[in-house]
Symmetry: C2
Subunit: 299 residues, 2 copies
């Protein structure tokens, strides 16, 4: 999976940090999480192809997380997109849809489906599932996780022992199908190892630190967590329904996540404060990085 | 007057050219014409202070000219703006207003007035007037001009000859007031020279070449004209309701404008085409420039 941080500011952007958006390239798709204003411009400077975006997940409807949607949708149409796009978000998405379509002459000539969702499994296909979880912001806000479905190891020697001929039957068994060999049924569980956990990426959206977020992020390969404030401004974090870098680090530690990337950084902090932010998180959770715009990482 | 080209692309932006917006700093105000997506981000990279923007004029409601409005309005509020902002645009502006206010949680805590306008004088104050004119696009679209009110020269020698004492009476007469000197009334027209034409900037918005545009741009100090296509693509210009660089140059020549700046450039053209665009306009109207993003000029 490739993760591209298209925008890493909070509500107030700066020259260096655009409004929030994260793209994940995986399973032959590109999936976008949030879409702040100028996300399509950030995309131009990244390795993301807007035409390959298949799904967009919105955490909540504060302007900094959604104002890039109208332009992105219209530009895809101008560029001749034909394939369907699905947009997911908490209750209120249909109102957003109406506003997008009434904001001037809006021509979108490919199918776009808007789906209002709540906590639970949202997408479940052969390769991955995406789950949503209500978190604690000053408005209804969802966190999301995307988790790879990893096949158990195929026990080749065991299969040969059971008389399965080397060839297509191996693949069918690995894919969970039974096969018949000389009148004998071989079941997949006879030749498959223990279940294996796939890569899991969790994105907090905007939230206060909370038990729901810790449970939801459990065993993440990567936790991308908002970190609007440094610890000395924790009173602001509380007032506006956000987290500090220390809050994010505790969530990473307590959820047994492997890696933490801090994003949604208040632009009130210059470079020296960014250092403070990273240092104070690292004291609690060593494997922490601070996101910057157009940062691309591979898992 | 200072003119800042915040965005110079047409509907499809590029790394180099953002969606249309032009700021004019004059008379202690900053006035914005059009506001494509990411205009607020372009502003960050320019000399424009968003808090000083007093008026925004929208030419028409295609997305590339308006999608920066919601974010700009909200950011000004986040930054504590208190002063009033007035937004002008053709019929349909109230629908845009409703869409802006329903696009998520939109908090705008300073007064914003939306005024639907048509051809005619829109602003007329002591220092300047702004005029709108319907032009020929594939939707209702306005061109705008801003014109300085320049006082006639004050004929100092003539005033002294008439017995006006050097001092505040000079200023009052120059400002159009009568003064009484030793029981004798001196009228301003006795001490003022011929009417003088002030600086006039005309912005075409999106339009086909047309008589209305030529008349409206008459005697402009600077004509900022859309130039979406080069002449060999004039068929596209016709199809989409736009102008070529040659159309813009003829309008500059026929309106007796002093200078022409081409903007709203299709991003299908790379640098070499930009050269062609400029060259073919210059053949018809020598004093032509091609706008680029963040270009600032002073008149």
């Amino acid at each position: 999976m490739e993760i591209i941080f298209l925008g890493t500011s909070s509500a107030v952007h700066s020259k260096e940090r655009n409004h929030p958006s994260i793209a994940i390239k995986a399973f032959g798709e590109t999936i976008l999480f949030d879409c702040g204003e100028a996300t399509q411009r950030q995309i131009l400077h990244s390795s993301v192809s807007p035409m390959k975006i298949s799904k967009i997940f919105i955490t909540h409807y504060h302007g900094d997380h959604i104002l890039g949607l109208p332009g992105l949708l219209q530009s895809m149409s101008l560029n001749g997109r034909e394939s369907k796009l699905t947009i997911y978000g908490p209750k209120g998405l249909n109102k957003i849809k109406d506003a997008i379509y009434s904001l001037g002459y809006c021509v979108i000539e490919y199918p776009v489906e808007f789906i209002e969702i709540d906590s639970g499994i949202i997408v479940d296909n052969e390769e991955y599932f995406i789950t949503a979880q209500r978190v604690k912001h000053n408005t209804l806000s969802l966190a999301y996780s995307i988790e790879e479905k990893k096949k158990p190891r195929f026990l080749r020697e065991k299969a040969i022992e059971l008389g399965v001929p080397v060839g297509p039957a191996f693949g069918r068994l690995h894919n969970g199908e039974e096969v018949e060999i000389d009148g004998k049924i071989i079941k997949p569980e006879q030749v498959l190892g223990e279940p294996r956990k796939g890569t899991k990426i969790t994105y907090s959206g905007d939230t206060r630190p909370c038990e729901e977020m810790i449970m939801f992020a459990r065993d993440s390969t990567l936790l991308i967590h908002e970190s609007t404030f440094i610890q000395k401004d924790s009173i602001n974090a509380e007032e506006y329904g956000h987290s500090t870098s220390v809050d994010a680090a505790y969530t990473a530690r307590d959820s047994n996540s492997k890696e933490l990337i801090l994003t949604h950084i208040s632009t009130r902090y210059g470079d020296e404060y960014a250092d403070i932010m990273l240092k104070e998180a690292k004291k609690i959770f060593e494997n922490t990085k601070l996101a910057y715009d157009l940062m691309e990482i591979e898992l």
